[in-house]
Symmetry: C2
Subunit: 298 residues, 2 copies
């Protein structure tokens, strides 16, 4: 039986050390800007995107160490997006993972700039890693950098956040909600799997299966997040629950009810598992992550 907890812990440790190195210092020292970046980056996130990236690489026979810079860049982009989403002008959240959000711990200007700097650092790391792999591996890396930027940008994550804010208080269809989540979180999850597998030399048919996997667990993760916001334990989640309803957010439970949402999440996970059938036991981490999506409590 694959031990996901142990696997996740090992991957997290690997990614966290690499992230610390990229920031160049211990998080207690350095400029106020670096402290703010480190504060949010080291706040105990699940590292879902890095783990998906590394696991996808391993699934197709790649080596962990070759995709660490990629895994770190994905986490930097994720962290930047959380810092900016939490700002008063956006979701106005004061807590995340049980800790004060960046603009509460520091101040609003510092939080905006820390987000900007994390996003920029992601591309510095990607270009550096690509440069080291040149000339043979450079074109794969460049494809990944372009895909990551596209997934994170105005046709991806940023547009998703715009829609999320715009739709507050309006009732939208299930399809519109899926499209919003596809932009806001789905594309970055898909590109995490895609880029890890691409750097590891995946074939087009492998990439297709992995993309189907990623698309389904990306949405499953969001449905599960919505469910946790209704029935999760605030103490374990490290944040308040019931906030989506208060804010008039469209969620799966609000659109289709709690039971149907849970069934939908399960169906998505099953579809993601079917997409992994062509792979051997090296895909076990990806399989375990899919199951974890609906079993998690935080």
């Amino acid at each position: 039986m694959f031990d996901l907890k142990r696997y996740l812990k090992a991957q997290r440790h690997l990614v966290d050390s690499a992230l610390q190195n990229y920031l160049g210092i211990d998080d207690s020292k350095g400029s106020r800007l670096i402290r703010a970046m480190a504060y949010s980056l080291m706040a105990g996130g699940k590292r879902l995107r890095p783990v998906l990236c590394i696991s996808a690489a391993e699934t197709v026979g790649g080596e962990r160490k070759d995709v660490i810079p990629l895994a770190c860049a994905l986490e930097l982009i994720h962290t930047y997006s959380l810092i900016h989403d939490d700002l008063p002008a956006m979701d106005d959240d004061e807590k995340r993972r049980g800790q004060p959000t960046c603009h509460i711990q520091f101040d609003e200007a510092t939080a905006i700039l820390a987000g900007d700097a994390l996003l920029t650092l992601a591309f510095e790391i990607l270009a550096g890693a690509a440069g080291q792999s040149a000339p043979q591996g450079a074109s794969r890396w460049l494809q990944c950098i372009a895909e990551i930027a596209s997934a994170a940008g105005f046709r991806g994550m940023v547009e998703g956040q715009m829609q999320d804010l715009a739709f507050e208080g309006q009732t939208i269809t299930k399809e519109a909600l899926a499209s919003l989540h596809g932009l806001k979180t789905g594309r970055m999850i898909e590109v995490s799997v895609f880029s890890g597998a691409t750097i590891a030399g995946a074939s087009p048919s492998q990439l297709e299966c992995l993309n189907t996997y990623a698309r389904h667990i990306g949405l499953a993760f969001q449905v599960a997040d919505d469910i946790l916001n209704v029935k999760g334990d605030p103490a374990r989640l490290g944040k308040a629950t019931g906030t989506d309803q208060l804010r008039g957010k469209n969620t799966y439970p609000s659109l289709m009810g709690l039971a149907a949402s849970e069934a939908f999440a399960t169906e998505l996970v099953n579809q993601s598992l079917r997409a992994l059938e062509p792979f051997d036991s090296r895909a076990d981490p990806l399989r375990a992550i899919a199951n974890y999506v609906i079993e998690r409590k935080r």
Copy 2:
């Protein structure tokens, strides 16, 4: 006699068309996010960084078309930094170039996200251009992408903005002010020249001369900006003057007086011109830009 006005107009036109293409639509259409991005991007900026990039490429015998994606990326990063700097939590500016700033014209959330999206698009364009030049040119491009990200990030522009905010109301030394400007605007101006010349295949000694040029005009530009904030014409500048003093900003006029600041700017321009001595008439645009820095009225 080199006609700078005509040259700048031609370059601006080239860069503006390319930027419009990258956004994929006319600025009056598209999502609210794209409209906000286009609003700030097309607000009539001087396009100093793109022009420096193109002129540096031409100085060493490169072709304009090869560096257009680079020139556009530099302008996208510059525009993002202006949008974020103007936010209420930062400089809280309501006007730029005579028009409402992005968060006034749209709203704060949209302005933050438009900035994020412009920064991200810059790297999407750079990775795309690098991919097209692979495999031969890829390593030069990757070096430029890493340098641009470094110049824009937490050891460059973002840290410069942090310091600018932190030093408001405090009196600092002339050296600390030069260091702040080196981070906030200098490094991006230097990398504009560096990257244009690098893609065009500049030799190490050519890069060294061009870097000396860029370092001096970067600082000269900032000194001239400070001077304009004291004695410029608000109507021509498109923004209020005297704001630095009101806000307790450290400026060259406040630290060394107006006359000494003007002499300092002139000296910096002369040093930048000396660095161009090894180059032929293809460096005339760079020479004209240096002179323009201290002659400009806006």
